[in-house]
């Protein structure tokens, strides 16, 4: 293989890619799916409650509230500005702490605390912010609550929100479209337009061309799955491990794309193969939607091993050590596909020369 020829073909494919409907489809579909599914089930557009605070002294409350994960806190200096911004719904609520507030509290006085609520804020946000504020005041005051609160979880403890369980489906779309379909369609297009013959009578070999198509699929798959995970808020844990998992999976999908591209002599056959095998490719991710189904069935599908490490990291915060088995299986499947690609490549050369 020649690195120079590989790079020349890769650059050409990247430049031509945006002019291809398949590549545009690969880029837009996961994003469109994310938006649609998150609008229906998820919380893509749901924001954390926005809280503004003016601390005219140096209250412990302002430090404590900034450590709370589920609230966006903004510190302001001017009480009038706070009122205006809460009124215009730039914040859901705002709090003004007078100088010496903590001392007064600890001294048993009842200092005035001005708590402003935006008229347009959601009831749930008002509730969260009010309860949080009262809880912080108790903390600073040093008093214990009059009751012991016992939390009782009802329903399946391990169940994840539907928005989370949909992420593997969207990621699978990115894998199939960017990893499988883009290299396959690019190869089929070269074959249909016979540009592949022009390339093969230049110093470039078939291996240069196939490597370029595969790397195009790998790069696009990684970018699209990372974008998909980011859009779904599922790229916050073990990012490096996730990148490794995506690289291994992208290699597998792109190798599969080459196999499909070499098998299909024209676009009609390519679409028929993808449509025909779609259910098999997708089957494993359906099991994430229905945790009550026997999960061992999903393991019967080869594509399970490529998607499961992604699921394990996003749902269980797994590390590479935890998912080494599915990673090895995915890498092994990619290795098995190499001689198949080589054999199908030789077969295609004969078909091209005989056509």
């Amino acid at each position: 293989m020649s690195i120079r020829n590989f790079w020349t073909i890769f650059k050409k494919d990247v430049a031509v890619g945006p002019r291809s409907p398949f590549v545009l489809f690969a880029i837009l579909l996961p994003i469109a799916l994310t938006i649609v599914l998150q609008m229906v089930f998820g919380d893509l557009f749901a924001q954390k409650p926005r809280f503004a605070l003016v601390d005219q002294g140096s209250s412990q409350i302002s430090l404590l509230i900034q450590d709370i994960d589920g609230i966006n806190v903004t510190m302001l200096s001017d009480p009038e500005e706070l009122k205006q911004q809460v009124q215009s719904h730039d914040f859901d609520a705002g709090l003004i702490l007078q100088p010496g507030f903590d001392q007064a509290l600890k001294g048993g006085e009842k200092p005035v605390m001005q708590f402003y609520i935006s008229g347009e804020s959601y009831a749930i946000d008002r509730l969260i912010l009010s309860v949080t504020a009262i809880d912080l005041i108790r903390t600073v005051e040093g008093s214990s609550p009059p009751v012991e609160v016992e939390l009782v979880s009802l329903g399946r403890g391990e169940a994840l929100p539907i928005s989370m369980r949909l992420v593997p489906i969207i990621a699978m779309y990115a894998f199939i479209i960017a990893g499988l379909f883009v290299p396959a369609s690019s190869l089929v297009e070269e074959r249909e337009r016979k540009t592949i013959q022009a390339v093969l009578v230049s110093p470039a070999k078939l291996s240069d061309l196939l490597a370029a198509k595969a790397v195009l699929g790998i790069v696009l798959t990684i970018i699209m799955t990372v974008v998909t995970l980011l859009l779904n808020g599922a790229f916050s844990h073990n990012q490096l491990d996730m990148i490794v998992v995506l690289i291994v999976a992208a290699i597998f999908w792109s190798m599969l794309g080459l196999v499909v591209g070499l098998l299909a002599s024209n676009s009609q056959i390519l679409f028929a193969i993808v449509k025909g095998s779609g259910a098999l490719l997708f089957a494993p991710v359906i099991f994430y939607l229905f945790p009550d189904w026997p999960q061992w069935i999903a393991k019967m599908f080869p594509t399970f091993w490529a998607i499961d490490p992604v699921w394990q990291i996003l749902a269980n915060h797994a590390t590479l050590a935890d998912i080494i088995l599915p990673l090895m299986v995915t890498a092994g499947m990619s290795i098995v596909l190499i001689p198949i690609v080589a054999k199908l490549g030789r077969r295609m050369l004969v078909q091209l020369a005989s056509s």
Binding site: S2, T8, K12, R193, A198, V201, S202, P203, L349
Partner: protein, 286 residues
């Protein structure tokens, strides 16, 4: 005699039981234009595919520029140019992008794309997508692509097929120029006039076998029949007299025809390559 740029020895190829090329041999010297003539299915394309490394001969050998060709050979492919009959260009790219891409595959860092596109009269459309080009423009770009690496060996499959006379002449001029600069050119064509005008030698191929390899002139001398047609007016009647010149060595027949009345026209005729091809193979070229 110079070392042949293309040397083919007893190559054979069959698709299953169907024999496509049956042990043909020929050489093409640097600077020579070699016309490959035959009807569809005669074995021309299979031969070119073997010469360009797309097919591996099942028997025999091919040497190009002194290097053996058995499938893809990077060193040989660097020095050859191929113009396919099919217009296999990247339609969503411009002419410049197409040429830059193939220049890149040949490892040419600073290709003279402007010069090439000017040669084929496409410079004014250089940045337009090829999908907007006419058939003739695409053919001219195919020719430019075949020349991107300044090849020493050129394989041209029907290079002027479907072109208007002006474009066809421009392509023929380029072919002759390249040959005069030392490139060996192997040309397949259905157009007998083109083969006659361009080729230093022609080969007649039919059913995978060669029927003749020679210069067009020599073939016509050996196998053709010359004649003269004299139209004379005798009284009120106009008569057309055909005199076979090969049999009329003394010229008596022609003298008699000219003297038989008022001469209106005299035309000489010589056999065309197509006539000779039909006479030798028993079938036409289309």
């Amino acid at each position: 005699m110079s070392t042949p740029a293309i040397s083919v020895s007893s190559i054979r190829y069959s698709y299953g039981k169907q024999l496509a090329v049956d042990g043909i041999s020929f050489d093409v010297s640097p600077g020579e234009i070699f016309g490959f003539l035959g009807p569809n299915g005669a074995g021309k394309s299979t031969t070119i595919k073997m010469l360009t490394g797309q097919l591996i001969p099942q028997d025999g050998s091919i040497t190009i520029l002194g290097m053996p060709v058995l499938g893809h050979n990077r060193d040989v492919h660097k020095r050859m140019g191929v113009c396919f009959e099919e217009k296999n260009l990247y339609l969503q790219m411009s002419a410049v992008e197409n040429l830059k891409f193939f220049a890149g595959l040949h490892g040419i860092k600073d290709p003279d794309i402007k010069g090439l596109l000017q040669q084929v009269d496409l410079w004014n459309r250089a940045k337009d997508r090829v999908s907007s080009y006419s058939k003739g423009m695409r053919q001219r770009l195919m020719m430019a692509r075949a020349l991107i690496n300044d090849p020493e060996v050129l394989f041209l499959d029907e290079p002027t097929d479907g072109l208007d006379p002006v474009s066809a002449k421009a392509i023929r001029d380029i072919i002759q120029k390249r040959a005069s600069q030392g490139a060996a050119v192997l040309l397949t064509t259905h157009d007998m006039n083109e083969a006659d005008k361009l080729s230093d030698r022609v080969a007649f191929i039919n059913e995978g076998k060669f029927y003749a390899i020679d210069t067009p002139e020599h073939l016509k001398l050996l196998h053709g029949k010359r004649s003269a047609t004299v139209r004379v007016k005798q009284g009120d009647e106009i008569t057309e007299l055909r005199i076979p010149l090969d049999e009329d060595v003394s010229g008596e027949g022609l003298k008699q025809a000219v003297g038989s009345g008022e001469v209106l026209t005299i035309h000489t005729e010589e056999a065309t390559l197509e006539d000779i091809f039909i006479a030798m193979t028993g079938r036409g070229l289309q």
